[in-house]
Amino acid sequence: MYLNNKMLFSIHILADEEFDELCFEFGLELDEITSEKEILIREQGGEKAEGASDVVLYKIDVPANRYDLLCLEGLVRGLQVFKEKLEAPRYKRVSPADGGEPQRLVITEETASVRPHAVAAVLRNITFTQERYESFIELQEKLHQNICRKRTLVAIGTHDLDTISGPFTYTAKPPGEIRFKPLSQSREYTAAELMSLYKTDSHLRHYLHIIENEPLYPIIYDSNGIVLSMPPIINGDHSKISLNTKNIFIECTATDLTKAKITLDMVVTMFSVYCDEPFTVEEAEVVYPDGRLSVYPELAYRTETLSGDFINKRVGINESAESIAQLLTRMCLRSEVSGEGDLIQVEIPPTRADVIHACDIMEDAAIAYGFNNIVRSTPRTYTVANQLPVNKLTELLRQDLTAAGFTEALTFALCSEEDIADKLRKNITETRAVHISNPKTADFQVARTSLLPGLLKTIAANRKMPLPLKLFEISDVVLKDETKDSTFFPGRCAEIFSCGKSIGHLGVLHPDVISRFELTMPCSAIDIDIEPFL
């Protein structure tokens, strides 16, 4: 994500190195210091960059499971808490003011086959600026790509509550029966028409497959039949959010309820800062087809109890429980010494869905302590090493093969069917090869059943080298079964036996094999399995 330096003034950061160090301490990687102009120059060339901003941008690598650091608001908040400039906010779900009824979203049974889950919440009396609005949109996009797995698991819809009225219905209908004016369009379309319309949309066409072939498409209506959205594709134009929007209704539809809850929690914790009562989120009710009622957002705080000793032992430090509690608090895991021995109560906020075990807490303690401050020590584990017998034998054979004048090749384990069948004068069915189901090209169709094709291809690629060419390779092949050999010139080949067992073949290659690998000189080969010698 990109962070501009205006934001950093709130953490009293002045210099690039200071910020780089802070990122490192916090567990993030400062990838690059650039500007909008520089990015455009690099991606599209100098002319496109005319007039672009020169404002310094920091490109930061955020770990994939830290959804709370995906937007500016969250990152700055995290860094402020880390620097102890701020206490981590407490996020609260509240009832509607003046004792009003919470917004309600009713799920019908039709959604069960396509996208069964939904959660919802309200951000009340919010104030947007252009920047906050853009950040709001961007966070949804990032969450869509990340935890929502490109909208397949969860899709977020945000709506101007003042343009619609609940209760809202989340149902699913045949595409022909859905008709509305979607965002950024000037007229109404049926869902079927939208599927065609968006086929050429560079952004939306990637999501069409999620519902395209379903008999029923998900759709959310308000009590007047206005379409809020057709998840996961597009929102309705009617309820679109603008800079003047004061009240937001958020709905997340999903195939994974856990992720939907986390996603909703993320959006509201991050942006409730801009509500008149910061960090408060108004509740919404969701009613399931079976009548069950759930209230969202969950904004659950969870407590884990662990000992200072646990942390010290795992990290390799020796801190007091109080000190550890302070370290954890700086990581937004508010902690208190419980008073019993060295037990610490750690509170995990809804923004830290990535913390699922005490070991995650231990990791945060280590980060706050500073990895560079941990004393390095060698484990006292006493062990005697053993080589894997087939590898030991391979190393010995490699030396002697080289001494015999052969050069080692290193070929690919994946190849085309032709390489292991036709070119070797075999039928693909008799090779009993392992087939790859999603090869990008013919070169990845099968796993090699023999080292021979790779060696012959190496010779073919090195035609200009002086003769003789003597190559060897000792490596794994993948076999489902063992088979006989038609690769050699009749009368000029032999099966090799050792202690009564067949271990391979040697001989002069059949001229057809030679031609199929685009070679011209007679070629002899030996192919043996070394495993019997272990």
Partner: protein
């Protein structure tokens, strides 16, 4: 090597002269082709400082084919003149002669003949003088005898215009005595032989100096592949640190061991078609330790062992999918599971073997590469221990910078506890690719120049020994 007789003849000629001689003159004196003299000069030069030869280029006048004919038979105009009897010759008859046309006009301009156009019986040609001097023939003969200097340039250029003479550039040598000049050639030996040693005759022989400009004959020998050489060194380092090699001789793995047992959720992007090669035949694996599988299912979907879990529906069909392993950590998982089935003893394991990624290919990425992995399992291992062993490992490599090239960490309890490993046991692990350090070490920029069948064998022939610590 030119004929020794010729060489010595040349040397004798040179001896008699004070300054030097031109090779063309030598050729003329000895009556041999100039090229043989050129050869002789070169042979003498190879013997050292016997002679000194400077190349020069000189121009020489030579007769063309037509010129030679004229030198022999006389010029066209002279022949015409001599063919005319006292009573004259009809013009048309004259013109039919071989030299007729050319000779007639020339003879006319020389005023050797006259034409009587009005003669009865047709135009008739008569001599105007008694005798002529065939100067053209004379001049050509002079050149033929090597006396072209006697002619003026104007005369020579005229004859050149008539295509009777041509100017030829001759490269010759100006030969002078060298610092070790002598009239005898002593044969230079190329090699010391056993006979020379036995007889002692080497003492009297001269040996031809080595030509250090020439390329020697490459020795016929075998070569190890550079990537495998680096692998051998890494293997050595692990063995020296007490690590036991894991059995990685299975490119095909089930999703269960490759992902699920490592607590990687089934919806994770790495399990996508885009990043992983799935197998169509055989598509599914069926043999799993059932109890363990149940515990894995539970920790993913419900949690347990102190964990919240991922809270999603874990499906056995996903776990059964066969794939080309995306990391050798799948093998580490198998080994740790095996370890957990018996009384626990601390272990140090390693592996260096091939893994497969179905990703975008570019100059530094191929679908197949080699992963290096180290694992330590013991009671009470700390992050400090992880950093310590990494430091030791990379110190042995002699490259502190390479830590950026790899990954390291501690295995999660959700992975270890379902296996049955005791609670106090920590497992630390780290890994890096084999190709990256090899490319750095051997200065290779494109991975295709290192791995696969399109590699230039000359690179393999030329790659030096692998010394990681320097």
């Amino acid at each position: 090597m030119a004929d020794t007789g010729l060489l010595e003849a040349l040397l004798r000629l040179l001896e008699k002269v004070d300054g030097g001689i031109d090779s063309q003159d030598v050729a003329a004196d000895l009556g041999v082709d100039h090229q043989l003299i050129v050869g002789a000069v070169k042979s003498l030069q190879a013997l050292g400082e016997v002679i000194s030869a400077e190349q020069k280029s000189s121009k020489r006048w030579e007769l063309t084919g037509e010129g030679r004919e004229i030198a022999e038979q006389g010029s066209h105009e002279a022949r015409v003149f001599n063919a005319i009897p006292d009573e004259g010759l009809p013009q048309n008859e004259l013109m039919k002669m071989p030299s007729g046309k050319v000779g007639f006009s020339k003879a006319m301009s020389n005023k050797w003949i006259r034409l009587d156009k009005a003669h009865e019986g047709g135009p008739r040609v008569f001599k105007t003088v008694e005798t002529i001097e065939d100067t053209v023939r004379d001049k050509l003969q002079l050149v033929q005898k090597g006396l072209s200097a006697k002619l003026e340039d104007k005369e020579k250029n005229e004859l050149k215009k008539r295509k009777l003479l041509s100017e030829v550039t001759v490269k010759s040598y100006w030969i002078t005595k060298g610092s070790s000049f002598s009239t005898t050639i002593t044969k230079q030996e190329t090699e010391l032989t056993p006979e020379m040693i036995a007889s002692g005759s080497w003492k009297e022989k001269k040996f031809k100096p080595y030509n250090f400009e020439a390329m020697g004959v490459a020795a016929d020998c075998g070569h190890l592949h550079p990537l495998m050489k680096v692998r051998t060194q890494f293997r050595q380092i692990f063995l020296e640190m007490g690590f036991t090699e894991m059995p990685t001789n299975n490119f095909i793995e089930s999703s269960f061991w490759n992902f699920d047992s490592l607590f990687q959720p089934q919806q994770h992007p790495a399990r996508d078609q885009h990043d992983t090669f799935f197998i169509s035949d055989p598509a599914l694996a069926h043999e799993f330790p059932q109890d363990y599988l149940e515990r894995v299912k539970q920790v993913h979907s419900e949690g347990g062992y102190g964990s919240q879990g991922y809270k999603y529906d874990w499906k056995i069909e996903e776990a059964q999918k066969n794939l080309l392993r995306t990391h050798t950590t799948a093998v580490s998982a198998r080994m740790l599971y095996k370890l957990a089935q018996q009384k626990f003893t601390p272990v140090k394991y390693f592996s260096i073997d091939r893994v497969f990624r179905n990703e975008t290919l570019d100059a530094t990425h191929l679908a197949e590469f080699h992963q290096i992995e180290g694992v330590v399992a013991d009671y009470g291992l700390t992050l400090g221990n992880l950093m310590g062993i990494l430091h030791q490992f990379f110190t042995k490599l002699g490259l502190k910078k390479w830590v950026e090239v790899g990954n390291s960490g501690v295995f999660r309890p959700e992975m270890l506890l379902p296996m049955g490993l005791p609670e106090g046991v920590s497992v630390i692990a780290w890994g890096l690719s084999l190709e990256r350090p090899t490319m750095i070490k051997y200065g290779i920029n494109n991975i295709r120049e290192l791995v696969g069948h399109k590699v230039n064998l000359q690179m393999v022939y030329d790659s030096p020994i692998c010394r990681l610590d320097s």
